[in-house]
């Protein structure tokens, strides 16, 4: 499809260590349209970051093995590109923001130069021009130009994350991968950063893949959502479909686990049990041993994707196609 900026088909990634195989991502399908913001939600170890790293092709080598799948970026399978061709896309067309702003910046280089460096890497322009663009970027993320030649340790956490965002957006990427961009920040600062990201996204018409564990951020920021569990996408759809009509038992469990400000309940309803061991996943549906509605069949048959409403896809054998 022409309006698909990114399309992931049947992506499967494993990590091999000395004595174990970790099934990190298993047969994931995902599309990102131009200008769309998609949220990938899930808990630790659900494979969220692996998806982002696969798109950027920065999976740890040699532990990570790409088992199958294709990732199309504008009808070009980026998994087939040479490293040199990939360098043209990475950082330029597709940029990534990491969770921890402290480690993403070089502590001994001036903040402004780090941004200018990124710009120069992807554009044939002079240093003076690159520095001017870097100044503009800083202003755009709400940092006064005067702080151009300060070092990262002189910035607070929220400002560092702004700098990281400025760096990621410096080359006007078409797709921004944000891996828990606000998790390390305080809530009031998080609100500022999210607000800034939203306005930048609208201004630049950037598509965003937002990885988070916080359904609140998804509700606030995203157009579509994919819920991951143990390396699979168990449910995806628009924000409205998922929040109004959550259909996979795990999604329902996630909602039940959330402490809500507007609720008067004194007890939470958590999902029972623990995340499965990624080296030894349960047979059939990976959620069956924690699922309140599991039947015997769930332990045997791996569920297929069921489209319960147009664009609303649920990986559960109990889901009924076409139902609303």
């Amino acid at each position: 499809m022409a309006d698909n900026l990114l399309e992931i088909r049947n992506l499967a990634v494993e990590y091999h260590t000395d004595d174990a195989q970790i099934y990190a991502v298993n047969n994931i399908n995902l599309t990102v349209r131009q200008g769309e913001t998609i949220g990938i939600v899930g808990e630790t170890g659900a494979g969220k970051t692996t998806i982002a790293k696969s798109i950027m092709r920065i999976l740890p080598n040699p532990q990570a093995k790409l088992i199958s799948g294709e990732i199309f970026y504008r009808d070009e399978n980026i998994l087939k590109l040479s490293e040199k061709e990939m360098r043209r896309i990475r950082g330029n067309k597709i940029a990534m923001i990491f969770q921890d702003p402290m480690t993403a910046l070089n502590p001994i280089e001036k903040v402004g130069f780090q941004i200018a460096e990124t710009i120069k890497l992807h554009n044939k322009i002079s240093s003076v021009e690159a520095e001017k663009r870097a100044c503009d970027m800083l202003e755009m993320v709400g940092i006064p130009m005067e702080r151009f030649s300060e070092y990262p340790h002189q910035f607070s956490g929220g400002m560092k994350q702004r700098v990281v965002i400025a760096m990621a957006l410096a080359c006007n990427p078409e797709l921004l991968l944000a891996d828990e961009p606000t998790t390390a920040l305080d809530v009031t600062i998080q609100a500022q950063v999210l607000d800034m990201m939203r306005s930048l996204k609208e201004k630049l018409n950037t598509s965003v893949v937002l990885i988070t564990h916080d359904l609140g951020i998804v509700a606030d920021f995203c157009d579509t959502v994919a819920v991951t569990y143990a390396g699979e996408i168990v449910e995806r759809g628009t924000v409205e479909q998922l929040f109004d009509n959550p259909s996979h038992p795990y999604t329902l469990g996630l909602f039940g686990s959330l402490p809500r400000l507007d609720s008067t309940e004194r007890r939470l309803k958590p999902v029972r049990g623990l995340m499965p061991d990624p080296t030894n996943l349960p047979s059939g549906c990976r959620f069956h041993d924690r699922c309140p509605d599991a039947t015997d069949k769930c332990a045997e048959v791996a569920p297929e994707d069921v489209e319960v409403a147009p664009g609303h896809i649920v990986k559960c054998i109990n889901a009924v196609g076409g139902a609303v």
């Binding site: 000395d18 174990a20 061991d277 080296t279």
Partner: protein, 286 residues
């Protein structure tokens, strides 16, 4: 994540990890072999170390004397085997002294901080301004040359290295929440240091200990070489090299054999140290 219900012995777990590193296993094997040779020297050695035979002075290897004889006609193989006793005990005991003092000093300095830390560290600074080998030489010269004095000299000379590593390691462990947790359940300073700090801070030191043994074997040989360690006729690898000096041009192998012994034991210690560093860290598992 598999959960083992049995409490596995610590050694067994370390062995499981160490096994993966083939070089370290070979090194361990060599060290065990060396220790066995040293322990049973009197059974293994074909001749007493001081038995002279003027007729066989500087004799080449033969069926009776596998590595030949030295200038006094003593069996070189026997002297090497007996020499391992002196060389290895020098390394092991000197490091044991140094490590015990170093761990205590480092743990106390790191845990209490403040003026205690400043005092300990400034003392070590002054101490380290004197070159370690020179210090050992001076100590050995003052106390008189003997195996015991060489060990003491080496042991005291290497304390600062252990103390510094221990202190650095303690400084990171001290900030961990489980130290605060221990204080919250009424654990005293002594218990916190012994039970919580030392076991968690000792990892980097184990490596230093194994490698230190190698270093002390080497330094001990050097002391003996210049005549401040083991006294003749007792054989020691450094002393053997020293003995072979006068005939080095004609019979270079006489100096080569003890040299190889020193090299192999030092190398084995270093390789094992490296392997242990990886094996000891529970967080590096998997």
């Amino acid at each position: 994540m598999k959960i083992k219900s049995r409490k596995k012995s610590r050694l067994h777990e370390i062995w499981q990890q160490l096994k993966k590193n083939r070089l370290a296993v070979v090194a361990l094997f060599i060290i065990i072999l060396l220790i066995l040779v040293a322990l049973f020297a009197s059974f293994i050695a074909p001749y007493p170390y001081s038995q002279q035979n003027a007729k066989l002075s500087n004799a080449p290897p033969s069926a009776e004397h596998l590595l030949g004889n030295d200038k006094l006609g003593r069996d070189i193989l026997s002297r090497l085997i007996y020499g391992s006793q002196q060389s290895l005990s020098m390394g092991v005991i000197a490091v044991a002294i140094a490590a015990t003092l170093g761990i205590l000093l480092g743990a106390v300095a790191g845990y209490f901080g403040g003026w205690v830390d400043s005092l300990c560290m400034r003392l070590l600074d002054i101490y380290q301004a004197i070159p370690m080998f020179l210090l050992s030489v001076a100590l050995a010269a003052i106390m008189g040359p003997s195996l015991r004095n060489a060990i003491i000299a080496l042991g005291i000379g290497t304390v600062p290295g252990f103390a510094r590593i221990m202190r650095a390691s303690v400084l990171t462990v001290r900030e961990k929440e489980y130290i605060e947790a221990a204080r919250a359940i009424n654990a005293g300073n002594g218990r916190i240091i012994v039970k919580h700090i030392i076991p968690n801070a000792i990892g980097p030191l184990i490596v230093q200990i194994t490698m230190g043994i190698g270093g002390c074997v080497l330094a001990g040989s050097a002391l003996s070489f210049i005549g401040l360690g083991v006294q003749p006729p007792i054989p020691e690898w450094g002393a053997l090299i020293s003995d072979a000096r006068s005939v080095m041009r004609q019979y270079p192998t006489q100096a080569l054999y003890p040299g190889i012994c020193v090299m192999v034991s030092v190398l084995a210690c270093n390789l094992l140290g490296d392997g242990l560093r990886d094996a000891l860290d529970p967080r590096l598992k998997n």
